[in-house]
Symmetry: C2
Subunit: 464 residues, 2 copies
Amino acid sequence: MFLDKIFKKENKEEIQENISKQELITKPLSGFMELLPAEQIVFNQIMDTIRQTYELFGFIPMDNPVLERAEVLLAKAGGETEKQIYRFKKGDTDLAMRFDLTVPLARYVAQNQRDLAFPFKRYSIGKVYRGERAQAGRFREFYQCDIDVIGYEKLDIRFDAEIPSIIYTIFKKLGFDKFTIRINNRKIFNGLFESLKVQEKSAKIMQSIDRMEKMRNLPAGRQVEKVNQELKELGLLEDQISQISKLISLKGNSQEMIKGLKDLGIENEQFEEGVEELKKVSILIQQLGVPESNFIIDATIARGLDYYTGIVYETRLDEYPEIGSVCSGGRYEDLASQYTDRKLPGVGISIGLTRLFDQLLEKGALKTGSATPTKVLVLPMTDNFEKSLQLANKLRKNKISTEVSFNIESKMKKRLGYADKLEIPFSIFIGEDELSKGIYTLKDMKTGEQEELTEENLLKKLSR
Amino acid sequence: MFLDKIFKKENKEEIQENISKQELITKPLSGFMELLPAEQIVFNQIMDTIRQTYELFGFIPMDNPVLERAEVLLAKAGGETEKQIYRFKKGDTDLAMRFDLTVPLARYVAQNQRDLAFPFKRYSIGKVYRGERAQAGRFREFYQCDIDVIGYEKLDIRFDAEIPSIIYTIFKKLGFDKFTIRINNRKIFNGLFESLKVQEKSAKIMQSIDRMEKMRNLPAGRQVEKVNQELKELGLLEDQISQISKLISLKGNSQEMIKGLKDLGIENEQFEEGVEELKKVSILIQQLGVPESNFIIDATIARGLDYYTGIVYETRLDEYPEIGSVCSGGRYEDLASQYTDRKLPGVGISIGLTRLFDQLLEKGALKTGSATPTKVLVLPMTDNFEKSLQLANKLRKNKISTEVSFNIESKMKKRLGYADKLEIPFSIFIGEDELSKGIYTLKDMKTGEQEELTEENLLKKLSR
């Protein structure tokens, strides 16, 4: 029955008489990542680093359902989201799979506001779903690793400064040195557009500025020229274009950027507020220990259209600019207006882990190692397992991942082949000799070196 | 629009004119667990303990998609599963959400058998979905924590012995002392039924024996009587009933059980093989350090119908027998017969974490603590944040989860109220004095005690 469906779907004309079982497609659906063990281990290490760092900064774990009422998930969503979402009925219930971690957060905070302490700092690491057209580097199921700080009625701007120091800590721990956290403030664009009286065109202008990132191979001057051209086509006047052009051409370190922004001489409350916030935030970022080499104010960062209202963040790996931003976010005015009348401003970021991992893997930027957490394979050489099992237990009590090679009927070559294939670092042989003398032979599987050790020395060596 | 749907679903007759936003249901769907922070932290600790133990025994992490082709997921599934599954179409694709972690494992091993080393030991911790009728203690989205050892063509019986020592390690680490791992062997039932020539009724007989667990409040003798009655109704003869009755009445420690099984005098190859396996496995279990008090051979354990073919496991918390088995599994002949012609025998267990957690929480068996991972709240008392931020950084470098209380404009009572509500253990005040003298005032938030410490002593104290 099910085979019929596959054949129909795959448009196969000829139907074989004898269909072997392998005809069932055992590959995951396209857009769904599934890793081999050595890759999965590295993936989990990255995820653990992110989680540990979030907790180190005091973020609280949250785990929301993957399935929600469709009308709740989509209460604020736009047309593109509605098209991409996995939505279906089960009985009378109209269900949908979550497409991000922010909407469930909003629902959760609205639901539990009386039980939470504010500012509410939470992290969430989980899979989200977007049924978009599969294409290289795009995933339909992917991990997001989010943090958000949610205020009750108000939220101090200083929380915005802590975000880049969290990003910095994570990417340093992941072994990156060359990455740049870029910040900007939406109030600067909004204030400028207000002062130039081009607010109705602001969405289109920002889209045009956003496209500069895609032109990163061009010199900065050429990028600005292209934007100018597009703004002209939008019907902006010469001096309007000139002001925008001056803004997005600004370069320099934080102090220089703040000075440059002030020197534009734009008299607008929102613009000035935006510059003051950037100044305050960038001083705190430095005090939090983020070096100038990993952090800049970038006046071209716009980050989408409606959601963000203040500071915005992007993060790029300097050696892999084509990946684009690997960690983005910003400040928003109101998290949960679709669920509660309470004003809940917040600031947050998201790391799209699945895509980041996929890209780094493709570029050879990740080194995979062992295909197992096992550090030691204990190999009993006789039918007397007692000593081997006791040793394995002792190793595990010392937090050393240990396996016992139970298949003593197999040839030694095969048993060691298992350790080789998984790249298990050490093996220990337990034969008659070891049983009587209490001395263990530890083999380094990489160098082939063997060493005779007492139990005490063995534990010491492997605990390192 | 969406509000209409809710009203229709809820069968509300009167539609209010002014619908406030709170009308959107912000509670998760029934059958979907969502926890408050203090609970979530305990949940994650349990999950981490399970994961770490699985890795300590050398199991490899695996993470499969939640969504699969329906025809692949359901290739081997029965009627009940088909009814419960969340299945839907997106475009031309017939999709389903996984209902366990075993079917994706089977597909994965079939797909990647050339790249894996056998025996393939993997763990998988993730959410699975069953759209069954919601009822107390039943979940539609729940975590399973699985391990399986998969052999290529064959798998040594000794791997079956390692499973109870993993269960033992986990429940000890979780703080339980009184729990009982019960093992049995399906070959014993199969062999007995064969020798009694009642194989065609074996499913019904086992269902009847399975029901003994539900009669746990009755004396053992009464339970057996009830089974006898049911077997009579099934049309079994007096001496057939008597033999089965003798088997399921056996009690004692491992040696006594083995002896009791042999003394039944059943001459059947499968039965004898089953007893031999139980003997071998129970000796190894003891050598692996599982005490007699946490482990028994229980001749009444049947575990479902078709899947298991050898050793089977159940685990019960002695103080909460009404929870039933919290960790079950067994040996199976062939993992992936629906996907590959290769014979892949295996042995595995599953912990239904969501249900276990829910039940323990309900019974007050879990102690929740802080509602945050934060150990220290640093409170700047002046507008000079530099010292506070540097200290927070240093604490985090020493792996101490730290938050900075950024809202210095708020009253001290409110700022400390935040720490109280979250049960943050310590707070540090950074005022003019601290800035000049380099001495920190550490407050124990539970006792209210304050202590003046140098930075070095502060780090020492908090690192403990």
